[in-house]
Symmetry: C2
Subunit: 360 residues, 2 copies
DNA sequence: ATAATAATAGAAAACGTTTTCTGTGTCAAT
DNA sequence: ATTGACACAGAAAACGTTTTCTATTATTAT
C-alpha cells in the first residue's frame, strides 16, 4: 500500500502538505503543489489508510448497524436505503444481527465501539431508549422501524395508523360495513397503531366499532388461518377481513376458500406490507407498502446530520406508505378479474426481490 | 475510552506488559502481574482501540462482503452463516451491495482495502476470477453461491446437479414418465447444473430425454406461467412439471389451475429453493432447499483459514441440499391431502423468515 | 520604509497499539 | 566462580495519518 510519505518523496514536499491536500483541509496550499500532489497520488493509486486516520481523528467513517432479524423481508431493504446514503458519503456500515435473545449482551456493541464507529443504527430492534443510551455511551444513533412501544426521538417509523386506514378506507369505499380485523401480536408497537388506523377508518365511515370482530394473530400464516376459522364458526359473517400483515391475510384467504367461500366475491381481504407473496397469492392481495428504502435513507441522513453536529430532526418521523390495489377486494369499477390477468401483464408489472425497484 | 496507558498507570507497570497480557501474546509475564492487569482492565471496562491495533499489526479483523443483491431471499441467510463464524472469531464484516451494473467500478473495493480488511467474501456475484484478483490485490477471498459459469478454487456452491435430481427422482419414483422442465436463465451457472440434474435423473430412471419438454424461463413467476401456457397448448400433456426455482413453479401452478387442471392430481409440480412461498401456495410446493446458512459458515471457515495461513480447502466445495415433500406432487403413500392440513399442524411446522431456523 | 498580516510549507508531536531492543535478576551447568 | 540460559519487564520505535507549532517569504497597510 502506498502512503503519503512516498507521495511526499516523489513530489519533493513534506508529508504535512500532502496530507493537507489529500484530506482536503482548508489549510492554504499553492495551486501548483496541490495539482502535483493530486497527480502523483492518482498515478501511484494512493488510498488512505483509514485505520491511521481513524486513530488520529477519532472518526472511523464506520457506522454500526444493529438488527433484530436480518432475514426479515424488510430489514434488507431498509439496509439498502441506509447504505445508499452512507456509501455516497463515504461511510461503511458494520451490520450485526442481534436478536431479541441476546439483547442484554453488550459485548458486540463494545466491540463495535472498539472499532470506533461514528454512530449506530438500530433496525427493527426491541431495545428500550435507556438500554440504547447505556450501550452507546454518547455515540449518536437513530432507529428505523422500532418495534417496541416506547417512543424514541431519533426514530424513523412507518405511519402505521395512516397506512392501516388506507386499507380500511378502501374497503369502506367499496361499501363494506362489517369488517373483521386480525391484529398482530400485541407486544409489537405496530400492532396497536394499525388497530388504531382500523378504528379511525370505521369512525370516518360512520361505522361503529365492534369488539367481537377483532382477532389476535401472531403475524404468521397459520395464525391468520386459525383466526379466520374461529371467525367463520361464529354466527354472522363479515363481508371483509383486514389483516395486520400479508402473512395473516394469506392465512385468511386459505381458510375462507376452504369453507367454499370465494375471495373477493363472498369475503374481501386486505393485508399489510406488500410482501412478495401479495403478488403470487390467488387471488392477488390488495395491501399497503411501507417505503422501507426511503425510511432507510431518511434515517441515514439524520444520523450523518447528528455526526456532523448540524441541526437536525429530533422528533419521530412518520413515513406514509402506498396502497396497492389487486384482486382480493374485487375491482372498484366492478370489473371481474382473475389471478391470471396479473400474469398476462408481463414481467414489467411483476416485481420480485430479484428485480426490486428501490427508489419508490 | 480507557487505554492501556491508564491501565499501566493504575497497576504500576509499563504499557508493554499490559499490551502483552491483553493481546495474549506468548511473551512470558508473571502470573501475579497478569492477574492484576486483567483485573484492572475488567474494572475500567477496557476495550482495545482497534484502529490503533490495525495500524500496528496491519490486521483489521474486518472482512469485506460483496453482494450482487442484498434483497434476494438467499443472501441474508448466507450472510447470517458467514457472520455466525466471523463474530465467534472476533471479526466484523463490511457488507456492500454491488450489483451487476457497477461491477466494473472498483472504488468501493479500494475503499474497503483502505479499511485494510483482512479478506473478502463474494456472495452471489458475477465477477470473473481475474476481475476478483485484480480488485483484491493478493488479499484472500472466497465466493459463496457464485452465479457465473467460470469455476473458482475458493468457492462454496450448492450441488445443483444433485439437488435437482432429488426433485426429479421424487417424481420418477412416483411413477411419472413424462416430465417437463422449466429451466432458469441460461446466463446462470445454476441453470445448466440443474438441467444436468434433470437429465441424469431421467437416465437413472431409464427415461429418454425429450428436448421438446424443455422450456426456458427467467426465474420469475410470470415466466413460469408463460412457459406452462405454451406447454399446455401443445399436443400431449406431461404428467409432471419441474421448475428450476420455486417462483417459476408457482407460475406453473397458476397456469395449470387456470386451465381447469388440478395439481397434483392431473399434473404434479416441483420447485427448487424452498422459498417462503413454497409453504403458502395452494397446493403447498414440494421443493429442495440449499443449506445456505451452512454454506456461509463453510465459506467463512475457509476464509479465516486462508487468513491464518493454515492449510485449507482449495477446491470448489459442493454442498448438498434436502428435499421438502409437500402437496404439489401428491402423497407418496397415496393419501389425499389438502392445503389446510398444513395449517392445522400449528406454528411449529410452519417456518417463515421471522421464525427462521438457521442451524439446519 | 516599516510593521503587520497572509500565504505557504516543513518539523515534530500525537493518536493507541504492538514489538523490538535492552536491560535486569535468578537459576542451572560448567 | 564464571558462564549461559531464561524469566521477566521497561524504553523506545514503529505503524500512517492529522494537526499544532514554527519558520520563511510575499503582500498589504500604515
Amino acid at each position: 500500500m502506498v502512503t503519503i510519505k512516498e507521495i511526499a518523496e516523489t513530489v519533493g514536499v513534506s508529508i504535512a502538505t500532502v496530507s493537507r491536500v489529500l484530506s482536503n483541509s482548508s489549510y492554504p496550499v499553492s495551486q501548483d503543489t496541490r495539482a502535483r500532489i493530486l497527480q502523483v497520488a492518482q498515478d501511484l493509486g494512493y488510498s488512505p489508510n483509514l485505520a491511521a486516520r481513524s486513530l488520529r481523528t477519532d472518526q472511523s467513517t464506520l457506522i454500526g448497524v444493529i438488527l433484530d432479524n436480518f432475514t426479515s423481508s424488510w430489514a434488507p431493504i431498509i439496509i439498502r436505503g441506509l447504505q445508499d446514503v452512507f456509501h455516497r458519503r463515504g461511510y461503511f456500515s458494520l451490520v450485526v444481527n442481534m436478536p431479541w435473545e441476546i439483547h442484554s449482551q453488550s459485548d458486540v456493541v463494545q466491540n463495535l465501539l472498539g472499532h470506533s464507529v461514528d454512530g449506530f443504527v438500530f433496525v427493527e430492534t426491541w431495545h428500550t431508549v435507556s438500554e440504547r443510551k447505556d450501550l452507546l455511551n454518547t455515540k449518536p444513533y437513530v432507529t428505523v422501524h422500532r418495534l417496541f412501544h416506547e417512543p424514541d426521538p431519533y426514530s424513523v417509523i412507518p405511519d402505521d395508523v395512516y397506512n392501516s386506514s388506507l386499507t380500511i378506507d378502501h374497503l369502506t369505499k367499496l361499501g363494506h360495513k362489517r369488517i373483521a380485523y386480525i391484529a398482530g401480536h400485541e407486544a409489537y408497537f405496530s400492532s396497536e397503531e394499525r388497530l388504531t388506523g382500523y378504528k379511525q377508518s370505521l369512525e370516518k365511515a360512520g361505522l361503529s366499532f365492534d369488539e367481537s370482530l377483532i382477532y389476535r394473530g401472531n403475524w404468521s400464516v397459520p395464525s391468520g388461518y386459525q383466526c379466520t376459522q374461529e371467525l367463520i364458526q361464529k354466527s354472522e359473517l363479515p363481508t371483509a377481513i383486514a389483516a395486520a400483515n400479508d402473512q395473516m391475510a394469506i392465512g385468511a384467504i386459505l381458510a375462507v376458500q376452504e369453507h367454499g367461500l370465494r375471495v373477493p366475491e363472498d369475503i374481501a381481504i386486505v393485508g399489510y406490507d406488500n410482501d412478495e407473496i401479495a403478488q403470487i397469492s390467488n387471488p392477488t392481495l390488495t395491501t399497503v407498502q411501507m417505503p422501507l428504502f426511503k425510511m432507510g435513507q431518511i434515517a441515514a441522513e439524520n444520523l450523518l446530520c447528528q455526526i456532523d453536529k448540524k441541526p437536525c430532526e429530533t422528533t419521530e418521523q412518520l413515513i406514509k406508505g402506498d396502497l396497492f390495489v389487486r384482486q382480493s377486494c374485487g375491482d372498484p369499477q366492478g370489473k371481474d378479474i382473475h389471478a391470471s390477468d396479473f400474469m398476462r401483464e408481463g414481467n414489467g408489472a411483476f416485481v420480485n426481490r430479484h428485480t426490486l425497484k428501490e427508489d419508490t
